[in-house]
């Protein structure tokens, strides 16, 4: 009899496949960065064909290569910013819960402040402060994505602190830092991992948006935001492929990350035991 595959096994397989696809896109993008810059004035403004599946732009650059290079760039920036944001969220969240009332109040004030400015505006501002470009966009995205995860972690830690074994450890005089690292961190790991993976989609979208507005990566780089921003000039003349394929590919990559996050959440979340 064929063994039936259950939801969790499915989730595992899917997560693995998604990871492989994303890794492949990243590597391909790096390999094709040269090709993405290559101009060929003999084949300018070509609609999608067998030779150029995604078409070419006004300098004859192949849009497939440009898209792959852009996606790869997006994914790498996404990884970097999500990692920074996740780490910040972890530290700030634990800090808020452990360092006492005053620290908690000031951190929650800071979170309110960050949440009060429309997200994209804040990313713009931080990017400006860092002189735009790669540094600007990385700083902007990394420094604005921690609040929601920090809140989740703070809540978790506050709950954990009431757990008997933590109370005992405190009574025994184990230091706060040690309790956080040895006794709390393992329990936070599932929430932290899922939260961080779910930061990717947001990070990637904000990077693309800020670059599109002109506050992010410079126009020489084949970033998706740059590609789409350039495509705006050619839309009225009917060059739809310049905008359609790069955008669609970005949506797919973001969807894959979102799916990956969902699967990982399913696997790690104790509340999903019944599903």
């Amino acid at each position: 009899m064929r063994k039936q595959i259950n939801q969790r096994q499915k989730a595992k397989i899917l997560a693995a496949v998604v990871t492989v696809v994303l890794a492949a896109v990243t590597v391909c993008g790096i390999l094709f960065t040269e090709a993405a810059m290559e101009t060929d004035f003999l084949s300018r403004n070509q609609a999608p064909s067998a030779v150029h599946i995604f078409g070419t732009d006004w300098m004859g650059r192949d849009m497939l290569f440009r898209t792959l290079a852009g996606l790869s760039l997006s994914i790498r920036i996404g990884l970097l910013t999500a990692a920074i944001s996740g780490a910040a969220a972890l530290l700030i969240g634990i800090g808020a819960a452990v360092l006492g009332r005053k620290a908690d109040a000031s951190i929650s004030w800071c979170i309110d402040l960050v949440m009060g400015i429309p997200h994209i505006l804040l990313v713009m501002l931080i990017s400006i402060a860092c002189g735009r470009g790669f540094t600007g966009v990385v700083a902007g995205v990394a420094l604005t994505h921690w609040p929601s995860l920090a809140r989740v972690i703070r809540g978790e830690v506050l709950q954990l602190r009431q757990a008997p074994y933590i109370l005992v450890a405190e009574k025994l005089g184990v230091s706060k830092m040690r309790i956080s690292a040895v006794h709390m961190f393992p329990h936070l790991l599932p929430q932290f991992l899922t939260g961080t993976i779910l930061l990717f989609p947001h990070a990637i979208l904000h990077e693309a948006s800020v670059t599109f507005l002109g506050f992010g990566l410079s126009s020489e780089q084949p970033a998706i935001g740059v590609i789409l921003s350039e495509s705006m000039q050619y839309l009225t003349t009917g060059k739809w492929w310049l905008a359609l394929f790069p955008g669609l590919s970005l949506v797919l990559v973001v969807l894959l990350f979102a799916m990956l996050g969902e699967r990982v959440r399913k696997l790690l979340d104790p509340a999903s035991v019944h599903e």
């Binding site: 009060g116 505006l121 860092c130 002109g214 955008g247 979102a258």
Partner: protein
Amino acid sequence: MKHRLGFAGKKLIRIALLLLGVSFVTFLLMSASPLDPLQTNVGQVALGSMSQEQVEALLAYWGVDTPPLTRYAGWLGDVLKGDFGTSLLYRRPVLEVVGERLSSSLILLLSAWILSGILGLFLGVVAGAFRGRLPDRLIRGYCVVISSTPAFWLAILLLLIFSVWLGWFPIGMSVPVGMESSAVTVFDRLYHAVLPALTLSITGVANIALHTREKMADVMESDYVLFARARGEDARGIVLRHGLRNVMLPAITLQFASISEIIGGSVLVEQVFSYPGLGQAAVTAGLGSDLPLLLGITVITAAIVFGGNLVADLLYGAVDPRIRRGAAKS
């Protein structure tokens, strides 16, 4: 009643402090920028051909020669008198520019806010009530795809389809090019606002629907819904009587929290549709290092966001019997 006033008062003080924080952080970020406003706006070549006095006059105009803290103190003093300074790019008072742009954006923001709120609530309730079944899968699929889609690309897509391909809507500008602003009719304004408002609504729905769905699913799994079923209430009655009622409270918070997101989205969408609203002004101010204008825009949008949160809190207290009656008793 007294209790509620005290609550509102405390919140107002907190908001004032937060706004102070927002303005300070914004100011700090802008003045920390290594970007030289003279180079961006006047240009290297033009600067080179100017006399020393002219350059100094420009430095003074862009405020580059004053130490940041002195400048901030001056700005704050003026703001308390109701003067947000003068936009360096538009050469007009910031409040005037913001007022004009905001009133033009308002149609977009309001219609998207209301539409996405109602539609999001509806879809969320349906998805939550049918959890795991076809309607839920469709709605969740839509929400996940939309929240993975950059708003500006969706805007480009709608522009391609409806303006370029079908020719139903104009390519850009909130008024027809070359028309006297007095000759612009309400119809023209609305006509130009349709696509941007649509884009904002489509993206806004996703978040509200997803969150409402979670709440609704929780409600449907609650003991009181189980008891209602045990008492023979039918599925429709349960959704309408218990589901909607209990989803309403989180929906209020959600709806007012979405203000920030919609304003953020409008920055991108206005850029694509070259719609002369507040979002576009923010981008222009940012690219041109127009500190007073960007500062003004940031503080005023933050005030709107915080104001929204306050209204949500007050409404919550008025609607939730546990707070309303609980407070009356104590």
